[in-house]
């Protein structure tokens, strides 16, 4: 990931590797969705090098060094305008306010991303890591955090999520609009919600539909989750919990005080409540604690065509339907087949001939790390959790396992903004 602060410390060299100064600032052209870098300002220049040069003369950006396509003598000054927007001067360190004009946080750093030949301004860093990066202390802080056994989350919000307030060249303020919020990816909403006070969080959640609210809640930290639930009335909270994946809902409920948990489960839809209650019975950190009861099981007697028809009729909302688990009449797991096997097979072939009989499984008390190891070893997208009688209790999907073994924020970092 590239940040403005990396560029601001960078040396620039011309085509003959001769130093032409260090980067002072980057000029952008404001455009939707992401502003594009058009020029670079240099300081500590040798004589004859213009102060501002066109970004198109930049050949490469490697190892914190900006190398240009031209010789120092061939560089021409980039024309400047009154309403130029400079990243460091006009955006970095500026205040971010919410729609009511209340101050939230400052722009600690800016995230830049190369796209084709362009460098785009794609995100705003509002976290402590941004601050430490500016002080050249990011690596050290991360190492310390790892020593202390924690991870050090990156806090980035997409440039989409903010509106620069134009018209006042001296102070550029950014604005997070509630109305715009609902259109964002739930992971971005969660990032912003994490920054707000309790009242604002509740207001934002009131404005989201159940599905988006559920997704946002799933992406939020445990602490934020419980705080938000504390402010929602039982009925609305139950609606959101129902919309969440049962395993996520169970995790959340496990963090609540017992009486509140029971109240919420009582207000939930019977089926969903049952799923969640079953999951709550398993210990955290085990396959049981992380599995979801939503999976696709098909009876062994069906043909390939029948199985597809069965899926169409049931319309399962399981997290993954790529694996179809085959069970006998007593509910025992006897095989598995992939959706692809099913679709490419001759319609009349019985499922029992298509399925793989030696199914890789884990038990409810298998530790999280071991579950992940099984998934990785056998290259599976999901693994079924079975009890002593090989009755399938649920499945652990690869993304749930990844969530548990990878620090939560790392996932978000990996997601392209």
């Amino acid at each position: 990931m590239n940040f403005l602060s990396d560029f601001l410390r960078a040396d620039a060299v011309d085509v003959y590797q001769k130093p032409v100064g260090t980067v002072r600032d980057l000029l952008v052209r404001m455009q939707e969705p992401y502003p594009v870098v058009t020029a670079v300002a240099l300081r500590r220049r040798p004589a004859g090098v213009p102060e501002v040069i066109d970004w198109s003369t930049v050949r490469a950006w490697v190892d914190r060094e900006l190398s240009l396509k031209l010789a120092a003598a061939a560089l021409t000054p980039y024309p400047r305008a009154q309403d130029d927007v400079w990243l460091s001067r006009d955006i970095l360190d500026k205040q971010i306010v919410d729609t009511d004009g209340r101050r939230l946080v400052r722009v600690n750093d800016l995230q830049l991303q190369a796209s084709d030949r362009d460098l785009l301004l794609v995100g705003v860093d509002i976290g402590a890591r941004g601050l430490l990066r500016r002080l050249n202390a990011e690596r050290l802080a991360r190492r310390l955090a790892r020593l202390a056994g924690g991870d050090f989350p990156q806090r980035l919000i997409s440039w989409d999520a903010v509106d620069p307030v134009q018209g006042d060249a001296r102070s550029m303020r950014l604005r997070i609009a509630h109305a715009k919020l609902a259109k964002l990816h739930p992971a971005d909403i969660a990032e912003i919600v994490g920054q707000l006070g309790g009242k604002d969080r509740a207001a934002i959640f009131a404005s989201l539909d159940d599905e988006t609210a559920a997704d946002t809640l799933e992406e939020s930290s445990d602490e934020v989750q419980t705080q938000i639930l504390a402010r929602l009335d039982d009925e609305r909270a139950a609606d959101i919990l129902e919309a969440m994946a049962p395993d996520e809902a169970a995790d959340l409920l496990a963090d609540l005080p017992e009486d509140r948990r029971e109240q919420l489960i009582a207000s939930m839809d019977e089926d969903d409540a049952e799923d969640v209650e079953d999951l709550l019975g398993y210990e955290e950190g085990t396959a049981g604690g992380m599995m979801t009861p939503d999976f696709v099981a098909i009876p062994t007697r069906l043909s390939a065509e029948g199985a597809i028809e069965y899926l169409r009729m049931r319309k399962p909302d399981a997290e993954t339907i790529y694996y179809l688990y085959v069970s006998d009449d007593d509910g025992r797991l006897i095989g598995v087949l992939s959706l692809r096997d099913l679709i490419v097979a001759d319609p009349q072939t019985p499922v029992s001939e298509l399925m793989i009989i030696r199914v890789i499984t884990v038990e409810p008390d298998t530790r999280t790390a071991d579950v992940a190891a099984v998934l990785a070893k056998y290259n599976l997208l999901a693994v079924p959790v079975v009890d002593g009688e090989r009755r399938i209790q649920g499945i652990v999907t690869i993304d749930d396992a990844l969530d548990k073994v990878m620090p939560a924020r790392l996932r978000r970092k990996a997601r392209a903004l």
Partner: protein, 447 residues
């Protein structure tokens, strides 16, 4: 895929979040001009200048008078000019940008300077708050109140006022606390000083007439300047002008506020020097000084009567209380400005958590530590003086650079002549501050 957002619900929710913030001045005062407008704008400048005369300030002035008589009175007018110039630039920055000093430092000078300055402010202001509570305890002790009652009572009072009261009420109470300083003027008149000598020594520099070692004398002169112009005054002034919402059209009233506040504050300083200079100085303290503000007040009783002593204690109480309230407030403003968190006395707790948490935390810490027996207050004082001595030159450089920024201030940026004066004064203040720093760290220099 989530369904499209329900815009009406979104808008309703957004509206329900919080009431809009209101700008400071009331509608009724806006219609009137002249004196009424001045009275409406009045506040930040007067409070900031008065807060500079804190417990430490009262001690320094008392000591100066007791040790040197009137012969250092001449420093008052140059100090006043420096104070006005610095405060005016700060007030102008606040009025024109609507941002606090630390806001501007962060936006213009980046993260490293901001962290450095805020860290120094937090520690230095914390230490000074401690000294103010010690001042409250001493003053109320002279008036017969036990220390725990005095300290806890003062902390509770300040906490309740800043937390529960709105900005206007807080400002009025702070102004009222400043009235306690009038007691120094009354005491000074009551001790019948030689007014002709006062008039002469206010203008004619009396250069070290009593044979004090030169370095020690210089250190005393600098301490006198240092206590009148402190970092927290500048930071508080700009933050509170911004919080009040004063705008450019009221700029001249802001200047009037700053000038009148500075004059009042320096008058108080002069009258304290006059009081001890015409009492303690003439009765054995010459060349020695006093070791604390309450010793000065106690020593006044046999010389000028019990009332003078009590009036002096009341002045010390007002000075300490005001600064004990302003310091945590200024610190909270600074930290929130540095990191962009919401801060305003207009807000309720839930709307500006960091702000109020810092405010309360500093109060509790300041008052709590004073209640511990045998706290090394002298050591704390040296530490805070050192930090302020480091910070003041840095802040002065920032203030001058910002006041010259045309993008920030437009036509109201420093003029050439004004800037020359400001730079000269700031350089002098900065050098003196560094000298004070050196003399604090290496006391052998001044002995």
């Amino acid at each position: 895929m989530p369904p499209p957002p329900r815009t009406s619900a979104v808008r309703r929710a957004a509206r329900a979040v919080t009431p809009r913030r209101r700008s400071g001045a009331t509608a009724s005062s806006r219609r009137r001009g002249g004196l009424w407008r001045y009275l409406a704008i009045l506040g930040p400048g007067l409070i900031a200048a008065n807060a500079g005369n804190d417990a430490g300030g009262v001690f320094t002035y008392s000591n100066t008078g007791a040790k040197y008589g009137f012969s250092l009175l001449w420093t008052v007018i140059p100090t006043l000019i420096a104070l006005i110039v610095v405060q005016e630039m700060v007030a102008r920055l606040g009025v024109m940008t609507g941002k606090g000093l630390m806001d501007l430092i962060r936006e213009r000078f980046g993260v490293a300077w901001t962290l450095f300055a805020s860290l120094v402010v937090v520690v230095a202001n914390g230490g000074t708050t401690l000294a103010e509570f010690a001042g409250v305890a001493a003053a109320l002790g002279l008036l017969g109140v036990p220390i725990p009652v005095a300290v806890i009572g003062a902390a509770l009072m300040i906490g309740v006022i800043t937390l529960r009261g709105n900005r206007r009420l807080v400002e009025r109470i702070f102004l009222a606390l400043g009235l306690a300083f009038v007691s120094y003027i009354i005491t000074a008149i009551a001790v019948h000083p030689d007014w002709s000598a006062v008039a002469r020594d206010s203008v004619v520099p009396g250069l070290n007439p009593h044979g004090t070692p030169t370095n020690a004398y210089l250190a005393d002169v600098i301490a006198l300047l240092g206590t009148s112009i402190t970092p927290y005054m500048q930071l508080y002034l700009q933050s509170s002008i911004v919080d009040k919402g004063t705008t450019e059209k009221d700029y001249r009233y802001v200047v009037a506020d700053v000038v009148s506040g500075s004059i009042f504050a320096e008058m108080v300083a002069a009258f304290i020097i006059i009081t001890t200079g015409s009492t303690l100085f003439l009765h054995g303290a010459a060349g020695q000084g006093v070791d604390s503000a309450q010793t000065a007040a106690q020593a006044l009783a046999p010389l000028a009567g019990a009332h003078a002593s009590q009036l002096f204690a009341v002045g010390l109480l007002g000075a300490s209380l005001l600064a004990a309230a302003v310091l945590p407030l200024s610190t909270a403003f600074v930290v929130c400005e540095a990191f962009g968190a919401e801060r305003s006395l207009q807000n309720r707790f839930a709307e500006a958590r960091l702000f109020f948490t810092l405010l309360i935390g500093l109060l509790v810490l300041g008052a709590g530590i004073i209640l511990i027996p045998r706290v090394p207050l002298a050591g704390v004082a040296i530490g805070t003086q050192t930090l302020d001595g480091i910070l003041l030159p840095v802040l002065l450089v920032f203030i001058i650079l910002l006041a010259n920024d045309r993008r920030l201030l437009g036509r109201r940026c420093n003029g050439r002549i004004y800037n020359t004066v400001a730079v000269a004064l700031a350089t002098l203040l900065g050098l003196l501050s560094l000298f004070l720093l050196a003399s604090t760290l290496f006391p052998s220099l001044v002995r």
